[in-house]
Symmetry: C2
C-alpha cells in the first residue's frame, strides 16, 4: 500500500499528492490510500541528493587538521592517522557519515575508501543507497598491485554477499598518479566484464597534471582515454584542470564528472573546474562533497550554494551556475552519473525522496522554491527522508543515533592519538 504524501509542493512549482509503492514513485496527482500518510502542506518534496564523491569514514578526521598545505596535510596528518584505521573504525565512521547525509537529505552516495565491506554493512543497516569502491593504490609496485587486486576481490565478494538492493560494489583506482598502467588496464577489463562502475580522482591539482604530462606526454584524461580506460561507467572526481581536448574526450566517452567545489577551495587546488565548457560539451555533471577531512561537511545544500558562488566569482558573471542548473547537478545529474533511475520526482523513478519544512524564517518567503533550496537551504530543513520506498527519518528522528555518535567519537579520539 506504500506511502502517500498529500498536497506537497514539487520543484517544478506544482502542488500535488505523491504515492510511493514498493521502491518506486507510483503516482503524482490525486491522493491515494496508503499505509503511511504524510501531510505535505507547508512542505516541499524533492528527489534525494546524490553525493557522487565521498570518503565517508573520513568523518572520523573532521577538524583533525585544517588550514594546511595539501602535501603537508596528507603526509603529516591524514596518512599517519589512516595507517591506524581498522575495519571497525570504517564501520562507525561510515555510519556517522550516513547519519549526517540522511539528516541533510542525501539518499545515495558514491564512496571510495578502505575496508569497504564494513562500509557496505553500515550503509545497509542505515538504509541509504550507495556505490562503494575499495581504494586501489599500487604506486607502480607489482607486489603491491597483487595485494590490492586480492583485497579488491575479497571486498567485492563480501559486498555481493550482502545481497542488498541498495548497495552496489564498484572499482576504485585512486588516480593516474597512484595506480600503474597495467593495473588501470586490468581494472578496466574487470569493470567491463563484471559490470562494475569505476570511481577515480582526476585532474584535481596542477601538480598531478604537470607530473602526468611529464611522464606520459599528455594530461591525465587524455592518458586515460589513450589506454581505453574511459566509458559511461566512470565517475571522475574533481576535474579542476581539464583542458578543452580532455573535456571533449570525456564527453565522447560518456564519463561523468563529480564537481567538488568545497574541497577544491579548502585545499586550494588553484582553479575552478571549467563548468561552462563542460556543460557546453554535454558532459554529465554531478556534485560531491569529498570527505569530511577536506570539506568538513557532507551537506549537499552547502555544496550547491558554493557551486553557484564559486562559478559566479571565477567567471566574474553573476549569471554563471544558476540555481536550477546547480540543483539539477545535485539530483538528476548525480543519478545519471551512477546509472540510477532516480534524481527526479517522476512516476517510475526510485522513491528516494526528501521532505523539506518550508515554515522557517530562513526559507521565508517562497518567491522561488529552487532558489531558496540552493541559496538559503541547509541540511536541517530536511524533515523526512525516504530511501528505496522506506521512511528512514521522520520529523528529524533517526533511531540509534546516540550510539553512533558515542562509538565514532571514541574511535576518532584513538585515531588522532589522543
Amino acid at each position: 500500500m506504500g506511502i502517500s504524501i498529500r498536497d506537497v509542493l514539487l520543484p517544478d512549482g506544482r502542488t500535488a499528492s505523491v504515492t510511493v509503492e514498493g521502491d518506486r514513485i507510483a503516482e503524482i496527482g490525486r491522493p491515494r490510500e496508503a499505509d503511511v500518510t504524510i501531510d505535505g502542506r507547508g512542505k516541499a518534496l524533492l528527489p534525494g541528493f546524490v553525493n557522487t564523491h565521498t570518503h565517508a569514514a573520513m568523518t572520523l578526521f573532521r577538524g583533525y587538521a585544517d588550514d594546511m598545505d595539501l602535501q603537508r596535510w596528507l603526509s603529516t596528518k591524514i596518512w599517519p592517522a589512516e595507517a591506524r584505521l581498522t575495519p571497525e573504525a570504517v564501520y562507525w565512521g561510515t555510519k556517522l557519515a550516513c547519519l549526517e547525509m540522511l539528516r541533510s537529505g542525501t539518499t545515495c552516495f558514491n564512496d571510495m575508501y578502505f575496508h569497504m565491506d564494513m562500509a557496505a554493512k553500515a550503509v545497509d543497516e542505515v538504509g541509504l543507497r550507495a556505490v562503494l569502491s575499495e581504494g586501489f593504490i599500487d604506486l607502480s609496485d607489482p607486489a603491491r598491485a597483487e595485494r590490492e587486486f586480492r583485497q579488491t576481490r575479497t571486498v567485492l565478494a563480501k559486498i555481493r554477499g550482502l545481497r542488498s538492493p541498495r548497495v552496489r560494489p564498484a572499482l576504485g583506482p585512486h588516480s593516474v598518479y597512484t595506480v600503474s598502467e597495467p593495473s588501470l588496464r586490468e581494472l578496466r577489463t574487470m569493470a567491463s566484464s563484471e559490470h562494475l562502475p569505476i570511481h577515480i580522482h582526476l585532474s584535481e591539482t596542477r601538480a598531478e597534471v604537470d607530473d602526468v604530462k611529464k611522464e606520459r606526454g599528455m594530461p591525465p584524461a587524455s592518458y586515460l582515454d589513450s589506454i581505453g580506460f574511459l566509458g559511461p561507467d566512470v565517475v571522475a572526481a574533481h576535474g579542476c584542470w581539464l583542458d578543452d581536448l580532455e573535456i571533449r574526450r570525456l564527453a565522447q566517452q560518456g564519463v561523468a564528472v563529480a564537481h567538488c567545489p568545497v574541497s577544491n577551495m579548502k585545499l586550494a587546488t588553484g582553479r575552478a573546474m571549467p563548468l561552462a565548457a563542460m556543460r557546453d560539451a554535454g558532459l554529465t555533471l554531478s556534485l560531491g562533497t569529498d570527505g569530511a577531512a577536506s570539506n568538513n561537511s557532507l551537506d549537499m545544500f552547502e555544496t550547491m550554494k558554493i557551486t553557484a558562488l564559486l562559478h559566479k566569482f571565477a567567471a566574474s558573471d553573476a549569471r554563471a551556475a544558476p540555481a536550477r542548473a546547480v540543483f539539477e547537478m545535485a539530483t538528476a545529474g548525480g543519478a545519471r552519473a551512477l546509472g540510477l533511475e532516480a534524481g527526479e520526482v517522476a512516476v517510475g523513478k526510485l522513491a528516494d525522496l526528501v521532505l523539506i519544512d518550508l515554515r522557517r524564517p530562513g526559507l521565508t518567503p517562497t518567491h522561488d522554491l529552487v532558489s531558496n533550496l540552493v541559496y538559503a537551504g541547509r541540511g536541517d530543513c530536511v524533515e523526512t527522508v525516504i530511501c528505496d520506498g522506506r521512511v528512514l527519518m521522520r520529523d528529524r528522528v533517526v533511531r540509534g543515533e546516540a550510539e553512533v555518535l558515542e562509538h565514532a567519537s571514541a574511535i576518532a579520539a584513538k585515531l588522532a592519538g589522543a
Copy 2:
C-alpha cells in the same frame, strides 16, 4: 541572580561554568546559584555573532531575483520592488530577519535600510542588539539631500525615543557614488557632534572605483580620507577593490571593514577583498552577510566558512584565512567594529551568548571546536541564545514565530506584485 551555564566547553578549549548577572558576564569558573540554570554538558558557549553589514528587511526579497547581472538586478527587480516598500513591510521584514539571525546565533547586527524607526521597533521587540542607519541617497540633487536630512533627523528622533539599551541609531550615507560631497561632509560633522556611528558601502565594484577615480582623481577610500570623512566610528562594507594606499589610510583612521564574501561572490564583484594585506595593516576586520536578496541567507556560520574558502581559493594557499582568524572576525572583530564590549566569553563583557549543541553527527567528533564551528557548523546547531543578559531562544523555541512568518510572507507576495 541571573543565569548560570554549567560545565560548558568554551572556544579556548576550557570547560567551565559561566554566570551572567544583569547584562554582563559576571564569572567564569565555578557554578553559582542563579534564577536560570542551564546544563552545558555536550554543549559549547560562544560569543554571539556580530553581523556588521545587513539590510535586514530585504528578507522580503529572498529568492525574488537571482543569477542576474548586478545592474539589471537592481534596476529591473530590486528598485521597483523597493519603491513599493511601506513602513509596515520594513517592520515585518526586519522581524523575519531578526528571527533568522537569532536562530543562527547572531546577537547584534549593523543595518542600513529605509523606515528604520520601524526596524528599531522590530529589533527592540525581538530583544536583539543592533546599530540602525537610515539609508541616505541624494544623487547630488540638493532638494533630495534636504529631504534625506529631514528623514534622517525624523528617524533618529524616533529611534532615540524608544530608549532601548540595545538599539543604537547611526548615519547611513549609502556610498560615495550616491551621496554628494556636501552631504558627506555634513553627515561627518553630525556623526562627530552627536556621537553617531557611520555605515557606508565602499569599494564594492570595479565600476564604483573607476567612476570615482574619473570624477575625483582618486579611488573611493582616498577620496573619503581627503574630505575628512574617515574615523574609528565608520564601518565600511565590502572593500573588494581597495588598493594598498587606501588600506593604509583606512588603518590609520581606525575604520572597520565589514567583509561580505557571499554577496560579493553571488553578485560577481570580481575580486576577493584583499584580506591578508588588510590584516597586515592592522585594520579592524569583521564579517557581514549583506541583505537576503544578495546572499540569500543571514547565517554567519555560512559566511565564516565561505570567508575561509574564498581566500584559500583566491590566494591558492590552503593556509589563508585559518579558522581561528575567521571566527575572530565574526565575533570580537564585529564587536570592535561597532564599539561594543562584546564578542568574547570573558568577565565584564556583555552577555550576548550562544549555546551550541555538539551532540549531532555534523559536529562529531570534536577534534577542534573552532574548526568544527567554522567548517562544519550551521545555524541550526544553535540551541539557546542570550542577548543583553536575557534568554531569547531556549532549545530552539522562539515565541511569536508563526505570526512573523505569516505577515512577512503576505507582504513579500504583495511587494513582488503577485
